[in-house]
């Protein structure tokens, strides 16, 4: 279960979208969220969805990859849908039973909210599918760097994230080894109730923690030995640079935002 885990959900292929500067992708994802919230009607969603489809296509992804992200939040989507359906009133009554009333407005809002959530998920999926965790880290560090002047630990957070990414596979390997070692001594992780199983995990967690702390200690020493002393004065082997394609991506986004605004203003397909 643990050994073929892929970190995040980065889908490693070479595509124009993958090659975009991570900062562009992060900012555009945020901007896309803004557009999704600004959008007041189904036609606007149509425009945004077309944009997402275009990105999926350019990124050589399959639509179902993007849709896969919906699963974990399906419950939330459903809940929003149901709440909106029952609590929103106004318009023609479609269905009435006891204290439950479903109106046209309720149905419309419910569908609208559900679509909005799905769009948000698809947008962020697009980012994480086409940007490696490490590029994401680099991008975030670079974006938050101006804030380090007022004490925001941009470099430190990025360093922590990248070290975590570096060590997750190592720790997973180690977990497997310890599990096997404990199993060989007769430990039983699978049977019994939850408490019993949690108890069985304890002899697994203790050595894992001890080793993780030892690793952290040694790594800190090794980093210091390689002249690490925080973010100031550091350079990068591959500094992030905006290219022409980043401009194109921004252009495409602005077109969509424009469309959404125009549709809003002229109340085309608006509730």
């Amino acid at each position: 279960m643990l050994n073929n885990i892929t970190l995040g959900q980065y889908f490693p292929v070479d595509s124009p979208v993958h090659r975009l500067d991570p900062r562009t992708k992060i900012l555009l994802t945020v901007a896309l969220m803004v557009a999704i919230f600004v959008c007041k009607g189904f036609a606007g969603f149509g425009a945004i969805f077309l944009f997402i489809l275009l990105c999926v296509r350019l990124a050589k992804l399959k639509l179902r990859f993007v849709l896969r992200g919906i699963k974990p939040i399906a419950v939330i989507v459903l809940l929003t849908f149901v709440l909106n359906l029952f609590l929103q009133s106004g318009g023609r009554v479609l269905w009435h039973w006891w204290i439950i009333t479903i109106t046209v407005d309720g149905l419309r809002t419910a569908v609208f909210m559900a679509i909005r959530l799905l769009m948000l998920v698809m947008g962020t999926q697009l980012l994480t599918l086409t940007t490696s965790p490490i590029a994401l880290t680099d991008g975030l560090e670079s974006l938050f760097k101006p804030l380090s002047k007022i004490g925001f630990p941009a470099h430190e957070l990025a360093m922590m994230m990248s070290i975590a990414l570096r060590f997750i596979p190592t720790l997973i390997d180690e977990t497997n080894k310890i599990t096997q070692a404990q199993k060989a001594r007769g430990a039983d992780f699978e049977s019994g109730n939850l408490i019993r199983r949690a108890k069985a995990m304890l002899p697994l967690l203790v050595p894992l923690f001890v080793s993780a702390f030892r690793r952290a200690d040694e790594l800190a020493m090794a980093m210091e030995a390689r002249c690490y002393r925080g973010g100031s004065g550091r350079t990068k082997m591959k500094p992030l640079k905006y290219k022409k394609r980043d401009l194109c991506a921004v252009g495409a986004y602005l077109a969509v935002l424009g469309a959404v605004l125009v549709l809003n203003i002229f109340k085309i397909g608006v509730l």
Binding site: I134, R166, A222, M223, A225, R226, Y228, R234, T235, K236
Partner: protein
Amino acid sequence: MHEAISARNLSYHYEGADKNAVDSVNIEIARGEFVAILGRNGSGKSTLGKLFNGLYLASQGEVFVSGTQITDENSAYEARKHCGMVFQDPDNQMVATIVEEDVAFGCENLGVAPDEIKRRVQKALETVGMSEYALSAPHMLSGGQKQRAAIAGVLAMQPDIIVFDESTSMLDPSGRRDIFSLAQRLNERGVTIVWITHFMEEAALCQRLYVMDGGRVALQGTPREVFSDAEAVQKLGLDVPDMTALARQLKQNGIDVRSDIITIDEMEVELCRLA
């Protein structure tokens, strides 16, 4: 010209410990030398190594690295530029998720310009024979490969001295030989090597040895000088190299071989002479 490393009356005391981990040590290592540091567990080898590149600051005495004395954080930082260190566990010294990025880490810390970093990283990976793994993830590499990547990371910083702290002890025999011969090649290129080890076969191939015991230098000299006194060496918790032991036994059994043999090559020559 100054020595690569010189320590005078160097002591280090861990907080709360009842005695010095390194105790009045005097060591002179010339530029371009290949020196081994031996000693039983807890004899202070690692502590000494960390004093050489300013990871620890001396409690007493003086230590000079490439001519600068390490006295405070700033001089320690200078020392680290000259004196790289490769540790025991290859897993715990790689920071980045891609080999190439990890090799670049030290250079990035030094503020080297991007193009120069790329050049150095490429060259360092070539030197250690890891060019084809430039884009691999560290956890996909074997122990020996990780260790070579770690060495590349140190090389890219272009140090004069590299301290290896039991860098082969977690590797299989072939990986161990690889790393040792890599260190020898670096030494031929002029890098001073301090080789901390438990393997006498490796020590036998170094130019000079220091044997530590209880934080002090108990024995020093060329491998031949040090291993000639087997009792003294064994008293310090070490073995003599296999070939030295073999020569001794052959001699006890009446075969007249030289008693100062330390490497397989010498044994081969000696046996051929007898045959």
